[in-house]
Symmetry: C2
Amino acid sequence: MGVKKAVIAFGGNAILKEKERGTVSEQLQHCRETCDALLDILDKGYELIIVHGNGPQVGNMLIQMEEAGGKTPSLPLDVCVAATQGTMGFMLEIEMRNQLRERGIEREVTTLVTQVVIDPDIEKFEHPTKPVGPFYSAQRAEELRQEKHWEIVEDSHRGFRRVVPSPRPVQILGIQTIKSLVERGHIIIAGGGGGIPLLREEGGRMVGVEAVVDKDYTASLLAREVEAELFIILTRVPGVAIGFRTERERFLDRLTVQEARKYLASGEFPPGSMGPKVSAALDFVEATGQEVLITAPEVLKQALEGLTGTRLVKDDVPSVKLM
Amino acid sequence: MGVKKAVIAFGGNAILKEKERGTVSEQLQHCRETCDALLDILDKGYELIIVHGNGPQVGNMLIQMEEAGGKTPSLPLDVCVAATQGTMGFMLEIEMRNQLRERGIEREVTTLVTQVVIDPDIEKFEHPTKPVGPFYSAQRAEELRQEKHWEIVEDSHRGFRRVVPSPRPVQILGIQTIKSLVERGHIIIAGGGGGIPLLREEGGRMVGVEAVVDKDYTASLLAREVEAELFIILTRVPGVAIGFRTERERFLDRLTVQEARKYLASGEFPPGSMGPKVSAALDFVEATGQEVLITAPEVLKQALEGLTGTRLVKDDVPSVKLM
């Protein structure tokens, strides 16, 4: 199988930006910009597998369902993730198709509804930590605890917020389909929002669960499964820094596995921010020996040329030249 | 290509039933029943391509967005269709996977986000007829006309309701992917809600449009494109009747193209009910010479045996035996 493959992960906030209302026309505009950047990777000779996040998009759905009160039944979180795979997959696919046409490139684009089997980590289910959805008043929080058996915590004086488990993905359903389509030159959009989380019950039956899988971990697993040559994580900053937002801030153009592990352990990369990205990147580099590029979409082109961004690479081994 | 293929269409009301609240657990239960029926078609030696409707599901989304008022931006109708391809595709896929496992059948199930290019029929866009979403008061209807430029009509004294165009699909994007995956034994879920409607602008750029494509027409086009041997339309009644719900009601076990055309012209099959089903069926039979089976999911097994249901077939030609 001769094609070079790149898996690219980016957050839902690359498409629905904080300072905007988040209308579909705004989101389509950002899909356009994102696809434009992604096609630079194609230009470099890589096939593309795109894994988008969905945080703000699911957030809006949860607000709408809360506002609709009892009028229509709310969708559980796994089904909300499925919804954003449809909506965001569509928006990305159509903009990708339009850009391909403008550039005169003939490529099929395929968006797959993707489920992931998660690690049934008891600890993560008993002590959920990932906040989702709107802020509630103390009274509404109590109602929801009673009514829906949600875990709700107070969120730094902004109100009360639901928390859900954020388990690791262990299996991506349909991975062979993704692999064979990408080998045939399809641009693939899959694993959106980290994938729809499933638990495998005793006996083998699979059920959706109300959890959120980190899209970086799903993308990392996907990159390993398809044997990608490159894994790219797009984020809001041009690269990975130590001492981030302090006086000693220093962006790193290159980071070995050993260094990354050290910095992770010393708390340089906080959870909920650069932590899971570096951790997901580490999993990939350790398993495959291939590189991860962490950068911002706005400078991706320069990063692909090696001018910016952070590359996570295998530890340097003393090069023994036998000749 | 040696496999026999069946395309099966059913409405969103097979999954979200009128008399229920429409919770996800109710919908999953109906997905289970539906998949159970569909596997009888697989047992008969056909590969499956499943096209679901989404009427009540999109209806609920539109209610939620109306209730959320200005809090978060509403999604346009094309993006709502995309959402239900995610939600319903997921629910059907997981129940199909569970049923396959229980029956010991090894099959991959693939759900594709599907866009369709529509016929830019001016008449249908200038005089939209398909009602969608909640009922509004006269005052709210007027607001929405001003604010969103929606076409809103009074609906038989129940209030005011938005109407959108219901154009015919002319091209299914990704059809070759569907075809090649089904040839490799995948059970395919595609074209949900009739597909996400796109218009091709001058110059070739494609844009989503606020319209609803009838899932029966999309399924019929899909069945022709993949060269299906059988097209099955599942509905609420066990078969097609003339004089439906009158004293002269008579269910037909067999209907030729010529008869179907005659009955359609004489108004036996009303629009918004059996009309589009028979019309979509006709398109398939005329193009391929293959059969269409119209029946209810509850009696599908018997219908496959020829014991009930209506078969739409090519006109009888005088059989000339040359011997």
